[in-house]
Each structure stands twice: as structure tokens, then as C-alpha cells.
């Protein structure tokens, strides 16, 4: 483990963020008549060593944004415009082979379902070993030692024995740890975690969150954490982006989003989270459903479900509000934010 830390070294502050997504559009459908925009004009920034949350309901485009960064968009979806600058390079302009070299080495991703992401026919240790040898020209012995270090780092007991296990022999929480070990095997600069705990129990979820926080602390890896639960995200994140219907509707430091949310969606979302606070009466919900892909209202997409909507909200596109005392980076897209 200490070797892994030493290999990475301290992270020098840099002026340019590690990841900068500018005006990203992801579109389904090739012909103009059946084009549907799933991600609309998303701006996003991740500094080195930062933990960033990306929150939204299913279908809000949060996973597609992450997959666009990884250049792993599903068939039919294309990043039609925008720039994804990672470490000074525009990923969208990279050739397939150049991207393959970076994927896994510089940026890695863990998924909601580790069982389908791991190979069922190869022992887990071997999978991690293969990943290391693909990107790193180290010897066989050193590679094996690194596998065991990594398994220990993610909190798998008896790494030497467990390296021989197959994915199906492990519990869901252990699989997610293996998935993480695989993702950080080549010491990436950025780890994207797409709902890594949604399939897990609360107790295991708490363990995985601690593990992610530790990886960030000990290895200085930046994490983009995707979830639908704001409570969970805010436990480990520095800043959070809230997405709705394909766009970012609010972003800022988690403390700000919790204490002074400016967008009604963030406010309503926070109220929906079931909490053990002995309140009685019906639970808060957000009435209605998010707009279907390709059928956006002319004004604010959240207007039909918004508790604070005014007539202009459904007719005119809302302006972008930014915290005037710059530096906080708090931003919201709402008529009433100011």
C-alpha cells in the first residue's frame, strides 16, 4: 500500500482543473427528425484530489455524462458537441487507440453492478494483474505483489488467498471492493463511481463509502460520485452538481446546497429523502414525472413539478444565477434563484 502512495507522490496544485467538461451535448438518434438530447449543455469541473457529487433522478443524464467522459457511450448515443478536457487533452478529439491507453490508466470507472462488470471465468486477482500489466511494464512478481497490496487497500481480508477467488464466490460488497481495486490498479487520476452502493445494504454501503473516502485520502485520487441520494453524496463530497432532464440545474459546495439551496428541485429533492427523524404524516414527494426524452417544455424543464413555479417559468428559459461573491462557485438555473 505504501508503495502505491509513494508511486503517486504528492499532488501539485495546477491552474487547470483535472477534468473540465464544457457545453457537452449527448444525443440519441442520427437523423434530425428523431434526435433526442439526453445531456444538454453540461459544464463540469473536477480538480485534482477532489470528490465531486453528481446527483439526479434516473434518466437525468448523470450516467451518460460519465460515460461520455469515459468514451463508453452506449450504441446510438453520441457526444455531438462540447469539449471534455482531461489533464490538458481533449478526450473527444482522441483516436480510439489513444483513448484506450488512457482509459483504465488515467480515468477509471466503477459501476452499480460489479457482477456484470467482472469476468466470471477468471479469478479476480488475475483480472487485476492483467489490468496492471496492460498499462504498466512491471515484472510478474511485482505485479502479483501489487495485486495483493491493492486488495488489502480496498479492505479485502486474506488478499493472498482471495486473489484466487471468482467473482461469484464473493458477496456484493466484496465484489464492489474488487471492482474498485481493479479501477485504481493503475493509479488513475480520476475515479468515476456510478451508483456504487445502490445494489448494496446500508451497512455495506457505509463500508464502501469509508473505503472510497480512504482511497481519496491516501492516494489523492479525484472521485466523481454519481448517486440519486443527496444525503449519501454529501457525506464524502466537496462539491455537488444537481442534474435534471439532462442539464445541471444547481451546483456548489455541499454545505451551501444543504443549507441554502437556490433551485426548488434541490430543495424538493432534499425533502424527499427518508430520514429517521420521527416525523409523522405523508412523506414528501415530487409530483409528476421528469419530461420524456425529446419532449422538453419551452421554459424551465422542472416547471410542471415545481412548487415555486411562476407563469414565466413555463414559457421562458430560466437564466443562470451565480453567487455574486465569486469564489464559492454556487450556481443555479432558475428564475427565482436571485
Amino acid at each position: 500500500m505504501s508503495d502505491v502512495v509513494a508511486a503517486i507522490g504528492p499532488i501539485a496544485p495546477r491552474p487547470e482543473p483535472l477534468l473540465r467538461v464544457d457545453g457537452l451535448w449527448v444525443t440519441f438518434g442520427a437523423r434530425p427528425e428523431n434526435k433526442r438530447d439526453a445531456v444538454r449543455n453540461v459544464d463540469l469541473r473536477v480538480e485534482s484530489g477532489e470528490v465531486i457529487g453528481l446527483v439526479g433522478e434516473s434518466g437525468s443524464g448523470k450516467s451518460l455524462t460519465a460515460l461520455a467522459v469515459m468514451q463508453l457511450l452506449p450504441p446510438g448515443a453520441r457526444a455531438t458537441s462540447g469539449r471534455i478536457m482531461f489533464d490538458g487533452i481533449d478526450l473527444l478529439a482522441l483516436k480510439r487507440r489513444a483513448m484506450n491507453e488512457r482509459r483504465g490508466r488515467d480515468i477509471a470507472m466503477i459501476f452499480q453492478d460489479p457482477l456484470t462488470a467482472l469476468n466470471p471465468t477468471i479469478p479476480i486477482g488475475r483480472q487485476i494483474y492483467d489490468c496492471i500489466r496492460t498499462h504498466d511494464d512491471i515484472g510478474r512478481q511485482a505485479g502479483i505483489a501489487r495485486v495483493e497490496e491493492l486488495l488489502e487497500l480496498v479492505g479485502i481480508p486474506h488478499p493472498h488467498e482471495r486473489a484466487r477467488a471468482y467473482a461469484h464466490e464473493l458477496s456484493g460488497g466484496m465484489r464492489q471492493r474488487v471492482m474498485t481495486a481493479l479501477a485504481i490498479a493503475c493509479r488513475p487520476k480520476l475515479l468515476i463511481a456510478d451508483e456504487p452502493t445502490t445494489a448494496l445494504d446500508v451497512t455495506v454501503q457505509a463500508q464502501i463509502m469509508k473505503m472510497l473516502d480512504r482511497i481519496r485520502r491516501e492516494l489523492g485520487i479525484a472521485v466523481l460520485f454519481i448517486s440519486h441520494n443527496l444525503d449519501l453524496v454529501s457525506e464524502i463530497c466537496d462539491r455537488t452538481y444537481v442534474m435534471y432532464a439532462g442539464s445541471i440545474v444547481e451546483s456548489g459546495a455541499v454545505e451551501t446546497l444543504f443549507d441554502a439551496p437556490r433551485h426548488p428541485y434541490t430543495r424538493q429533492l432534499l425533502r424527499c429523502i427518508p430520514r429517521l427523524d420521527w416525523t409523522v404524516g405523508p412523506m414528501s414527494t415530487i409530483p409528476g414525472l421528469p419530461p420524456r426524452l425529446g419532449t422538453l417544455p419551452p421554459g424551465c424543464p422542472f416547471a410542471p413539478r415545481c412548487e415555486a413555479a411562476e407563469p414565466r417559468c413555463s414559457d421562458e428559459k430560466p437564466p443562470i444565477w451565480r453567487e455574486p461573491a465569486s469564489g464559492s462557485g454556487h450556481m443555479a438555473v432558475c428564475w427565482r434563484a436571485a
Binding site: V202, L230, D231, L232, S234, E235, P274, R275, L289
Partner: protein, 287 residues
């Protein structure tokens, strides 16, 4: 009902369904050689559970995956036969019911599943999924199509869905809408007991409340007894009159949520409680 729920819980309601020392064992698979060399090994998914589900209440069953709470739920609907123990429904032993009563037991106890997409046939429109349930209920008496239609309209109204959705296929609905259809289909049998196995854990937080409020509403209006199987303590605490915490096939703690979760006596309950995400407050545990 909600405001007085704790007070009501103190008064014992007559049990609708009773479990006495229920055990469910599974025999572990052995390899070909092991079948001759090793003795049979068994694992108990449910290990001697006794419970009484009070009539007209929402009863919560909480615990981690693998603790046996879903198995127990399925035993209550008799999807699974217990290895030993007795299941009483309105005081009668369910395994010794005469055939005609066994049939009506099946109607009176219904289940709602966690996975909303795999519990509906993808090739059938919602109209058919619901209609078949209604016809199945009246299979011995027969029922006329207009009556089925009227009943479907009423069911859709009860679960808060637009009648127009009847013509849709499951994949055209959202997860929350599909879960309402699952509940409507269970209600079509006119049940007295509804077992809801993790009904909200596959849903977005913004939709969870809608389903939980619906369950609460059905309990209030139809006096429907509900067993809510869930790993979400916050949800369970909100609507259940009584909860039981399960671990490794056994019930470790039981009582009104305020007692069990407010002052947990078992270490396992405390572990569950401390694992709930707590937003900004929860940050302290990493620092």
C-alpha cells in the same frame, strides 16, 4: 391515523397471521465426489421465527440482505413451504386447510415484489395483467367484461394512476408507475394481507414517498394489513406500527419503531442505525 399510531400500537390488535417457530432450511449443493465423502450440509435461511401480525396494521420486517426477511415474507404467502413450524391465518393452520379454503387463502394474501420490471409480463399490456388477476379471482363464479373494465378503472383510481395507462406495455411506464401497477394487481384479489417485499428500494428517492404514502393510504382506507419488508429503517419507522429486526434468520429485536430504533438494545440494530446516510452530519464519521 398517523399521529396516533404509537398510541394505537400499544393496544394489541388481534393477530391476522401468526408464525410459530418457523424454520426454512436449504440443503447446500455438493460436488459429485463430495456427495459420497461429505455429510449433507444445511443452512437455515429462517431459523425459528415466531411472530404475530396484528390485523389492520403495517408491520415492518427489517434487516440486511441474506437475513431471511424475504424468505419469511414468501413463507407468509406460501410461495415457499417452511421446513418446520406452523403458519396460522385467522387462527387456522394454513398447511391443513381444506382445498376450497386454501384457494381463498391464496386470494386473501397477496405480494408486491421489489423488481418492478421482472414482476410484470413485458408482452402484456397493463389492461391484460390487471384483467387476468380480476378474472382469476372470479374464476369459479365468472365475471362479465364490462364489470372487469369498471373494476380496473376503480383499481387505477385507487393507486393514483391515469386510466389511459391501461393500454400501455410495462416498459412504457416509469419504475414508480410499474410499482403502482404491481400494487393494483395485488389489490385486484381483494386481499386482507399484503406482503410488500422491498417495494421502494429500486426507486428514485423522489418516487419512494409516493409508494410509501400509497401503502399508508391503503392501510387507512381499506384497513389492509401490510407486512413491509425493507432494509430502509427510515421508511419503516415512518409508517409501521410495529417492527421486527432480523439477523441471520432470527428476530433479534421487536416492538414499536420508537422503542426499537429510538433506544435499540441489540448491537445489530445499532449497527443498522449508524449506517444510515446522514448528509452533512454524516461527514464527521470520515474525519
Amino acid at each position: 391515523m398517523n399521529a396516533i399510531a404509537p398510541a394505537l400500537a400499544a393496544i394489541k390488535a388481534p393477530p391476522l397471521c401468526e408464525l410459530h417457530d418457523i424454520r426454512k432450511e436449504y440443503v447446500l449443493r455438493r460436488g459429485l465426489l463430495e456427495r459420497f465423502t461429505r455429510p449433507e450440509r444445511r443452512v437455515a435461511a429462517v431459523d425459528g421465527v415466531s411472530l404475530a401480525i396484528p390485523q389492520g396494521r403495517i408491520f415492518g420486517l427489517v434487516g440486511e440482505s441474506g437475513c431471511g426477511k424475504s424468505t419469511l415474507g414468501q413463507i407468509m404467502v406460501r410461495l415457499i413451504e417452511p421446513t418446520s413450524g406452523t403458519l396460522l391465518y385467522r387462527g387456522n393452520d394454513v398447511s391443513r386447510l381444506p382445498p376450497e379454503e386454501r384457494h381463498s387463502f391464496r386470494h386473501r394474501v397477496q405480494m408486491v415484489f421489489q423488481d418492478t420490471s421482472s414482476s410484470l409480463n413485458p408482452r402484456k399490456r397493463i389492461r391484460r395483467a390487471l384483467g387476468e388477476a380480476i378474472r382469476a379471482r372470479e374464476v369459479s363464479n365468472g365475471i362479465k367484461t364490462p364489470v372487469v373494465q369498471a373494476e380496473m378503472t376503480e383499481l387505477m383510481r385507487q393507486v393514483g394512476l391515469d386510466v389511459a395507462l391501461l393500454g400501455r406495455f410495462p416498459h412504457e411506464l416509469s419504475g414508480g408507475q410499474r410499482q403502482r401497477i404491481g400494487i393494483a394487481r395485488a389489490l385486484a384479489m381483494k386481499p386482507e394481507l399484503l406482503i410488500a417485499d422491498e417495494p421502494v428500494s429500486s426507486l428514485d428517492v423522489s418516487l419512494q414517498g409516493q409508494i410509501i404514502n400509497l401503502l399508508q393510504d391503503l392501510n387507512d382506507r381499506l384497513n389492509l394489513t401490510i407486512v413491509l419488508v425493507s432494509h430502509d429503517l427510515a421508511v419503516v419507522a415512518r409508517i409501521c406500527a410495529e417492527i421486527a429486526v432480523m439477523k441471520e434468520g432470527k428476530i433479534v429485536e421487536q416492538g414499536p419503531p420508537r422503542t426499537v430504533l429510538g433506544a435499540p438494545s441489540h448491537a445489530y440494530t445499532r449497527t443498522l442505525l449508524s449506517s444510515i446516510p446522514r448528509g452533512l452530519v454524516g461527514r464527521s464519521r470520515y474525519r
